[in-house]
Amino acid sequence: MTSTPSFLNRILIGILGAKLLAVGILLVLLATVPAVGTWWHTWSGAAWRGLNQVFDGTRFPGRPESWLWIMMAIALVILIGLMVAWIAQQGKGRSNLLVAEFDPGAVPGDVRISGGVAEQALKHALAERPDLAGATVATYDVRGIPALKIRLQPRHGVAPHLLAAEVTDLVAALDAVVGKPTPVLIHIGAGARTRFSRAERVR
């Protein structure tokens, strides 16, 4: 329901995991297989000499330090910034508005209905039910379209399809009030509150 970039997450985690796995396996092989040690000496020695030459060729005139260090520092700052941006993308998507549309009626203008209207109305309608241990309603923004997420925690033994049908009727009533159909996700779940509560015996 949130706009977490799931495909990007998979790719970036996969890249990091593959790199760490490769480094770890290389270290284990270095510790156990002597032949890998000789290969590593020739390969990394050559790489290190090449790197040294680059550093020697990029010195500040008249000073021992290379300006590559500054470039490296800048690159690392950019990398840290990208990581912060990546974290900031996680779990976004809550929204405040259920309806935000231009209404070209008798009095033209924008109509905006807060998500709190749906949240309060549905929560109030669900609060009195004896077969529910808890209910939460939240408004999300799914690619520019407001949608509701209703999370229900029924007591033991409640038939989920009957509960879903009744809640769908409530949503239909809400749609009639709001004046347009709202996409809804109903999640019927179990949690600590349902596990330790008594069973509902009447239904």
Binding site: T2, P5, L8, G17, L27, W48, E65, W69, V184
Partner: protein
Amino acid sequence: MSHKLVDELLAGPGEAAPPPNGRQPDMRRVVHRETHSSRAAVSVVAAVLVMGLAAYGLLESAVHAIGQPAWLIEPQLAAERIVALPAGLSPLLLGAGGAVIAMVGLFFLLNAVLPGRRARHVLNSGNPSTAVVVDDEVIASALARSARVAANVTPEQVMVVVSRRQVIVNVRPTSGVPVTEQAVLAAVEKELSEMSLDPQPEVRVTISTAGVIGA
């Protein structure tokens, strides 16, 4: 799962694409998000790990760039030690360190590759703009109730396990009161068909040969 990934790739991660089919969001995508675990927490851990390494590298390279002595280790010295690696460290320490790094890498890699399904089923409702997702635990407790009523036993004598494609109902009958497998199976299957889950699981009923006394 793979075609879903392709869908998301085509749509572009995190972009505000124009809503498909008018003013309706793609409910298939919403349901997929809800039945598969999010990698948000793992991503944050990975990002913090990379940020920590980058911050250390930044510190050392900045210190080097202005010609000050290094904080922990001179980059030159560190590189030389890495080049000479099997020497200079005990093989046990090196192997253990490598194994730990490989394990962390495997954790991230598996998190990226595995489908990450949650123990949830989709409930087919007739309404296209309403999606219903149910935890397997809730399905199990509803099926246990109908099995209990059909077998006429107490709640403690019924155990139901719901997995993606299978429902296993275990009934321990009261001693001296026979329970017919057919009746329990019929009751559970009727309840299950009313739910119309996706994917539809198969029901298996086991009546225990040992009874419960005094229930």
